[in-house]
């Protein structure tokens, strides 16, 4: 029994960690701008494409990984400056539409560059290696992801709670206008938020695509949406919430992928129900349920509307 469940559980934890790294970007941006950054999933995908091209150019690993992260950060920064900053006083719907426009642009740009073909993700030594754990074969990345995720999240929480820029971020997310009046340079804070979010998405993309092997222009959309669901699930604006939500979604999703086999092995059924189809749908069903039952999510703060 354990041998049946374990591979799915391991993949689930790994995928959960990767979603967590993307979800942090969503939750931080939402906390500050109250904007669903629909382009975030595509930034994640662009990071994957950048890795493909940079590795293909023959640069050594210790240069190419920092370079990818740097470029991803730059993309996040530029997107914010071009597409969101001019709309700061516009209705929220306009900014969201702008975000959708950016997502569309990034996808089409990558389609143009790659010619719409699947690009195979380069093998990164060490984390691409196979490893056996409790008699289950998996990639090293499966074991590294949760550890790396936790380390990065702890670092991020420290940054937010202990540093000056972190304090500014917290202030801005509490009250946009007042913090501006207190002399916080809002634009810098927002830029830093986008840069942090993009770098984490970049790290996530390295881990995620090492697992999945190929990148195409649409491969950012689904993980992006799921990471957003994770952020909502955990309580939007809360970083620990996003991480917990991402792990839960990652694990559930992968268990559903293997549910048919698990049920069969457990002797509960003899026929296959094709339940694996529902691994994506589950995430969204979870989203709708959580929005109805507890719209603030697991760790979210209650926001009351003022008339």
């Amino acid at each position: 029994m354990l041998k049946t469940v374990l591979p799915y559980l391991l993949t689930g934890i790994a995928v959960g960690g990767q979603y967590a790294l993307i979800a942090i970007g969503y939750t931080m941006v939402y906390g500050i701008l109250r904007l669903i950054n629909f382009a975030h999933g595509d930034v994640f995908m662009v990071a994957g494409i950048l890795m493909v091209y940079i590795m293909a150019s023959g640069l050594p690993l210790y240069i190419s990984i920092p370079l990818v992260l740097l470029l991803t950060a730059a993309i996040g920064f530029v997107i914010e400056r071009i597409a969101y900053k001019p709309l700061r006083s516009a209705p929220r719907m306009s900014i969201m539409i702008s975000a959708i426009g950016v997502s569309y642009t990034l996808q089409n740009l990558v389609l143009y560059i790659t010619g719409g073909l699947n690009k195979s993700y380069p093998k990164i030594p060490f984390i691409s290696e196979s490893v056996s754990i409790f008699g289950v074969n998996t990639k090293m990345v499966t074991l590294i992801t949760p550890v790396l995720t936790i380390v990065l999240v702890v670092a991020l929480v420290l940054l937010i709670n202990k540093t000056k820029i972190g304090m500014a971020m917290r202030a801005v997310s509490k009250d946009f206008e007042t913090s501006q009046l207190m002399g916080i340079k809002i634009n810098n804070v927002i830029s830093v938020t986008f840069i942090i979010g993009s770098v984490l998405a970049g790290v996530g993309s390295i881990l995620y695509f090492t697992n999945y092997n190929t990148v195409i222009q649409t491969s950012g959309a689904m993980p992006g949406l799921k990471a957003f669901v994770a952020a909502v699930f955990g309580g939007i604006g809360s970083i620990p919430g996003a991480v917990v939500g991402a792990f839960i979604i990652g694990i559930c999703e992968n268990l559903i992928k293997g549910l048919d086999i698990i049920l069969f092995k457990a002797g509960l059924t003899n026929t296959s129900y094709g339940l694996a189809t529902f691994s994506d749908a589950f995430t969204f069903a979870l989203l709708i349920i959580i929005l109805i039952v507890k719209p603030t999510g697991l760790f979210g703060e209650k926001i009351t509307d003022k008339v």
Binding site: L87, G116, T277
Partner: protein
């Protein structure tokens, strides 16, 4: 939430100008239909123009249905692709001819549905199916606020897409296989005995379907329901305070929008000849949203115009960007497969960032024929002014009569107080009468002046 105080185009119907502008708009629409009909009979049926027109009509309906929700009711919903999928599948499932079913449902023993409906009932049922799903999903999610609603409806669309591809429902939906062999737009062409087409209707029919549906939406928007929707958009709390039942009206807007999205989906199925659940992704919803934005959020006309522009750009006018182009011996750089979409997305970003009003803003077709507000006002002629002054004077004379009457009344009662009061009143009224007399004089003078002016004008002309 959108809390701008724009006046809806349906808010204040102006009596005289509306009629003329409505007639002109109706003429324009009629001309478009006539042009489509004539073009179809004269141009070769393989022309790209007809592809654009058919797909454009389909997208116009879907865009207007989305605009009803996003632009007029202020509900930011991203579930359009899901409702289109339901409509497309309902249409396909209901209309595949019985003798073709074994062929289409080859892995599912011909499927469970063993009858075929005519096109129009099938279209209506397609809409109703979408609306029924919308009703069910609307019960919980319509309580959510702006972006949560967006993401919940987006999630709903993804769930629908998965369910329709589920193997176990294959007897109904054909699993992840194509639905085909149902009546398409081309089946509307009337053929002679020898199989030659005698009357081309394959483009006109989608125009008519979309036109009827859009007309129904416009009628809804002009009704008290439409005004309630706009009130909800402009300020939800104020609308509730005015006695609008928020839950009910949101539910109505959501179901009606989904109904027409369902019909739009069925039209898309007819346009494509085959339909597959896989294609109805969130990217499709985004495309429709961008059409709505380009046309102007809150303008039915804008949505229609921009869908044709959008389809024409993506299918036709920008196609050259995907091929190598030579100017003399110089090969234009960058042009290769996919460049069209890059240019296209940049255009869209420019519209989104710098022309947020879109093509039409919140204006409608009849508004284009109206004199501009704040611009040239029709000048009132001197004669009219004189007429007005005369009328004022008449009123003044009547007032004077009134004074004498009141005074007489006072005298009759003989009460000193009453007399005093009446006297005071009389004094004020006398003043007025005085003024009125002066006004009358002025009016007469003006009339004389007008007559003189008219004479001079006539003299000049002579």
């Amino acid at each position: 939430m959108m809390k701008n105080t724009r006046s809806g185009s349906y808010a204040q119907p102006q009596e005289k100008t509306v009629k003329l502008s409505t007639v002109l708009s109706a003429l324009v629409i009629l001309l478009v239909y006539a042009a489509v009909f004539v073009a179809e009979q004269t141009l070769p049926s393989t022309s790209i123009l007809f592809t654009v027109l058919k797909k454009g009509a389909t997208y116009a309906l879907v865009a207007v249905s989305m605009n009803l929700l996003n632009g007029f009711t202020g509900l930011f919903s991203l579930g359009q692709a899901g409702f289109m999928l339901i409509g497309a599948y309902a249409y396909g499932i209901l209309t595949i001819p019985v003798e073709q079913r074994m062929n289409v449902y080859q892995y599912y023993d011909g499927g469970i549905v063993q009858f075929a409906l005519p096109v129009v009932p099938a279209l209506i049922i397609a809409g109703l199916c979408a609306a029924a799903f919308a009703f069910l999903i609307g019960l919980p999610v319509l309580r959510l606020k702006s972006d949560y609603l967006a993401i919940a409806t987006l999630g709903f669309a993804e769930i629908v897409r998965t369910i329709f591809q589920w193997d176990k429902l294959g007897f109904l939906t054909n699993g992840s296989n194509l639905l085909r062999e149902y009546p398409t737009f081309n089946d509307f062409n009337i053929k002679g005995a020898d199989g030659e087409v005698t009357l081309y209707l394959s483009t006109l029919v989608p125009f008519i379907i979309a036109g009827v549906c859009i007309a129904l939406i416009v009628l809804l928007l002009r009704s008290s329901y439409g005004r309630a929707f706009m009130a909800i958009r402009d300020d939800e709390i104020a609308a509730e305070a005015m006695g609008i039942n928020l839950a009910k009206h949101k539910q109505i807007a959501f179901c009606v929008s989904s109904f027409f999205a369902g019909i739009g989906g069925a039209m898309l199925a007819m346009y494509q000849n085959t339909v597959q659940a896989k294609a109805f992704t969130s990217a499709m919803t985004y495309e429709i949203l961008l059409i709505v934005v380009i046309g102007g959020i809150g303008s039915v006309t804008g949505s229609c115009i921009s869908s044709f522009l959008f389809v024409a750009c993506s299918e036709w006018w920008l196609r050259f960007l995907d091929q190598k182009q030579m100017i003399g011996n110089f090969e234009v750089p960058l042009l290769r497969n996919g460049f069209r979409l890059v240019v296209f997305s940049i255009i869209i970003m420019i519209v989104v960032l710098f022309f947020r009003q879109g093509i039409m803003g919140t204006k409608e077709l009849p508004d284009l024929f109206k004199p501009r507000r704040g611009g040239k006002k029709p000048k009132r002629s001197v004669k009219e002014k004189a007429e007005q002054a005369k009328e004022n004077a008449k009123e003044a004379l009547q007032a004077e009569e009134q004074i004498t009457l009141t005074a007489a009344e006072a005298a009759e009662t003989g009460a000193a107080v009453a007399a005093e009061a009446a006297g005071e009143e009389a004094a004020s009224l006398k003043d007025k009468a005085e003024e009125a007399k002066e006004a009358l004089k002025e009016a007469l003078a003006q009339e004389a002046a007008a007559a003189a002016e008219a004479e001079t004008v006539e003299g000049g002309e002579a």
